[in-house]
Every structure is written in structure tokens, then in C-alpha cells.
């Protein structure tokens, strides 16, 4: 079944042929983060793909993954491009490196998951929260509910984790 939903007045769609994305977002809708684990080499991968990027195996098993990690890089958008985001600046796009499978299969590789900085209930974070986050900040995954069969994974500050005293931020502030 294809999915048609609206998020921040943006139409989000998944075609009925797109099995990988349907499955990925179905788990997110249940507030469970799942990634494909290769049936042969057992490596997890992100974002969803048809084949394993390390061994080309075509079969995989959706596996629950802990949504925790640290900010690897970020950006802070001040000038929105898409209509949905123009009124929502500043907002952050975070590249968060998961603790799971970090530095594997080579030292340069990790599961790095893109999402916005949000509040714990999945709403884009207000400016004073945006100012607190930088490279090294500890994050946990939350979800923005969009509609039946689709929620978007998001990142919020992990209140339970020790945070770096001063996460790295862009020098000109």
C-alpha cells in the first residue's frame, strides 16, 4: 500500500513498489528504529538500500537498533529554501553517528543518521536549544508522527547521558 501524508504542510509519499522505504518508515511509525542487517555479512546499513554495500547480498533482515549516538557534524539553516521550512528557521540538520557499529567495517565508516534537532516530542527545536548543540553532543532518537505507517526519526538531546562541557560549535557566534 502506498503512503500519502502531510508533514509541516509538505506532501510526503511512498510508492507501493518501494518496499524498503515502506518497511523503514513502518517501524518508525511504531517508534522503533530498525535498519536492514545483511543476511550474509551481518552489517547494518543506512539509509535503506536494495543490496548490501559491502557484500552485494540482496537479502537482509530488519533489525532493531538503539537510537543513540553523538553529533558528527551539523548545520544551522537560517534561510529556508522549501516553503515548509521558510517559517521555521533557524533549524538544525544533524548528522549523528550511532554508537552501534561505530567505526565498522573500516575506521572511516559508521552509521550516520540524518535528522533535525527536535524537542523530545518530535517538534523542531526552539532557538535556545539550537544554540546548545554541537559536534560531540549526545543525542537520542525520537519520532515526529506524520500519519499511518509513517513517522520521521528525529534527534533530541539525550537528557540521561553526560554531555560534553562545550560541544564544538561554529567559531563565529
Amino acid at each position: 500500500m502506498s503512503i500519502r501524508a502531510n508533514y509541516l504542510d509538505m506532501p510526503l509519499t511512498i510508492d507501493d513498489l518501494d518496499g524498503e522505504n515502506l518497511e523503514y518508515f513502518r517501524h518508525c511509525a511504531e517508534h522503533d528504529f530498525h535498519l536492514q542487517q545483511c543476511d550474509e555479512c551481518k552489517l547494518l546499513r543506512y539509509p535503506p538500500t536494495t543490496a548490501c554495500p559491502w557484500c552485494t547480498c540482496l537479502t537482509s533482515t530488519w533489525t532493531k537498533v538503539e537510537g543513540k549516538g553523538a553529533v558528527y557534524s551539523y548545520e544551522e539553516v537560517r534561510h529556508g529554501i522549501q516553503p515548509a521550512f521558510q517559517a521555521r528557521v533557524p533549524y538544525m540538520v544533524l548528522l549523528v553517528e550511532l554508537d552501534t557499529q561505530k567505526g565498522k567495517p573500516t575506521e572511516h565508516e559508521s552509521l550516520r543518521v540524518v535528522a533535525n534537532l527536535t524537542t523530545p516530542d518530535g517538534v523542531l527545536a526552539p532557538p535556545d536549544t539550537v544554540r546548545q548543540v554541537g559536534i560531540g553532543s549526545r543525542m537520542r532518537m525520537v519520532f515526529s508522527d506524520v500519519g499511518p505507517g509513517i513517522s520521521l526519526p528525529q534527534w533530541t538531546l539525550d537528557e540521561a547521558a553526560p554531555q560534553p562541557a562545550k560541544p564544538w560549535r561554529y567559531p563565529q557566534e
Partner: protein, 418 residues
Amino acid sequence: MPLPADTDATTPKYLRDKYAIVGVGETTYTRGSGKTTRAMGTFAVRAAMQDAGLKPGDIDGMLSYSGNDSTPSPFLAGDLGIRLNFFMDVNGGGSSTEALIGIAIGIMEAGMCKCVAIFRSMNGYSQVRIGGTGARSAAPVNGDALHSRAYGWQSAGQMFAPTFMRHMYEYGTKPEQVAMVKVVHSEHASNNPKAFYKKRYTVDDVINSRMICKPLHLLDCCVETDNATCIIVTRTERARDLRHTPALIRGVVGRCSKPRTDMHYQHGPISRVAGYYAKDILWPNSGVGPEDIDAVGAYDAFTFTSMLQLEDYGFCKKGEGGEYVSSGITRLGGKRPQNTSGGHLCEGYTHGMNMVIENVRQLRHDADDYCPIGPDGKRQHTFDYREGGCRQVRNIEVTANLGWANPMTGSAMVMRRG
């Protein structure tokens, strides 16, 4: 005859200097062309033919690239009375120019045609905005784009920013250093009558301009323009009969990529760009190294894109790009000037073509600057690089172009004066 042992099959050394760029042409760089991409493209191809001294019957191959925002080759060929033995219109933006030059060499080597016009025609400001505002950003978010556009992560600046920010984190690169890319390119643009922005900017201008997507200020970003550009490639032996000193193609690299080009930064270091891989094709096949290059066209969609490529192609050590671009080396009059037309940041955004066109003119020793034209009809270059003056590089013999699609994919080319 056996090939030299170190020949790379990608651009075998026996093709070095065998093909040349013999004609270049462009429209004016505007924001509001008032013309179709068909009309602009026709103008640019015609201008390049005239520049080369070729007639429509001499051109029998055509290549173009676009993001479905242009007019296909057969229309332009038909409009100009060109009968084609080969054409191909490919999808893509930056990094296409050098790649298509390589393809042009390939199809001529295969005997499929003998003279190829490569063009890019785009209303990048007035129709399909390259920055992504307008129709592109309003389109529904479907399938794989849910992992990017649903997060307000869409435009080129937004997509590349994690690489730029990580570079600052890893190497301590300062905004003031990166701003020097814009400063230097704007100095060059002030000596280019064609440049859309001719004003000279300071570091303060750049870092005090409004923030678009941290770490990118407005003046770290290039200028969206409407324009068409064309270059003509043919065999060097044919080039000898034509109007200008040919720009001989030493070696090309096309859309060379890092692992995992799916744009989600799964493979690091993410501060590394495709040039890290492309350099191992470019330099051996060209038979030169960074130290031999007299001038560079380093794709400047953003200040950062120039800097990162200079590092990974080996013009400076990795992480020292900030120092390199603020050292004066890249200025006209410096050891290795770059983007002498003002590039994408100032002359206009063309998806790479104008920086190749500029180097072709530099290698002819005929940069179209403000210098007076002498009795022989040629510009009398003064080598006075003050505002409104000269932009010809003295005694230039070898150039490099470093084309960029995104951090994961790039193309490159070395040319020498024929």
C-alpha cells in the same frame, strides 16, 4: 606498439594533447535573460563556432548536460543547420564539463564523429533556480528523498554543509580564511567586463553578510544566473588550421567518486572530497603535478568547494586549505592564480563551463579583460591587476580545472597551451 607500463586505461597517455578545445562561446551572464534555453544555447554554440572559425558543416557531434532545465542538442543543431553524427544529452550539473570533454574524446577516438560542441544552457535564476527555491522545493517528498528533503535538507548548500563544518572542526579552519576565496575571486571579477558581480569584496563583507546555512554566509555562495556556454573539441591536427592557439587536453577525469555516493556521509572522512581519488587519474595521465600548474579553475559553487578541492588534488596539504587560499598564492600576480574570471562566485553560475572557457582564453594569452586593443587587433596586456585592469596570467602554459558535483563526486582536466 606496446603502451608505456604506467598507462592508465582511463585516459591513456597516447591521447595526451591529441585533442584540443578550439572554440568557446557564451551569452551574457544575467538574472533575467528574457530568452529560452533554446535561444541562449543556440547563441552560445554559434559564438563558439565563430570563435573557432568553424562552419555548421564542420560540427558533427553535440553533448549537453542539464537537470531537465535545458533544450536538447537536436533542437540547437537544427536551428544552426548542423547535421549530427552523434549527440547525447545527459543528466547532471557541476562535474559534467570535464566529464563530457572526456566523452567527446572517446566518441571521436571511436570514429563516431570528428568535432564536438558541448553546451550548457540554463535559466538558473529566472526559471529553474539552482538554489532550489520555487518549483523544485515545492515538489512532493517521495521515497528516498524522505531521508533528506523531509528534514529541510535539499539545496546544494544544505547538502554540503556537514562536510564544510566537519572540516572546520577537524582542522581549525577559520571563517576569515575561507572568506578569502570570495575576496580573491571578486578581485579577478573586477577585471572581467562579463562578470555579473564586478565589485571587490573584503573578508569583513563576507563574514558579516547574512548567514544562509551555517557555515555558509550569503557571500560564501555563488550567484545564480541565466546563461548558456559552449566549448568545441576536435583533434589537435585539425585545430592547427583554426583561428586560435588551441588549448591541448592533457588528461581528464570524469565524475570520479568516493565510496557511498548516496549523500548521507556513511563513508569518511567526510571532510575529504572526490579529488582524493581523482588526483590519481589526473596527474599521472597528464604527466604533470600540482606544482606544474600555472592557473586553476577550482569549482566555486561555494567558497569551501574551491578550498576542499585544492587540498585533495594536492595543491596544499590536507587541512591547510584555509592557509593556502588566504596566502596570496591564488591571486593574479601570485604563484598560482585561480578562477581568474571571478568564477561562479562572481562571474556567473554555469555548472562549471565558464571556468574551462576562462582557462582556454588564458592559454591563448587572450583573456578578455579591460586592457586596450592594439593596432594588430589583439589585447595589449598590461599585467596591472588593479581594479578595472588586466587579468591575463603572464606566460601561462598549463592549467587545471577541478569540477565539483558534491563532496562525493568530481571531474578534472589539465590543459596546456598548444
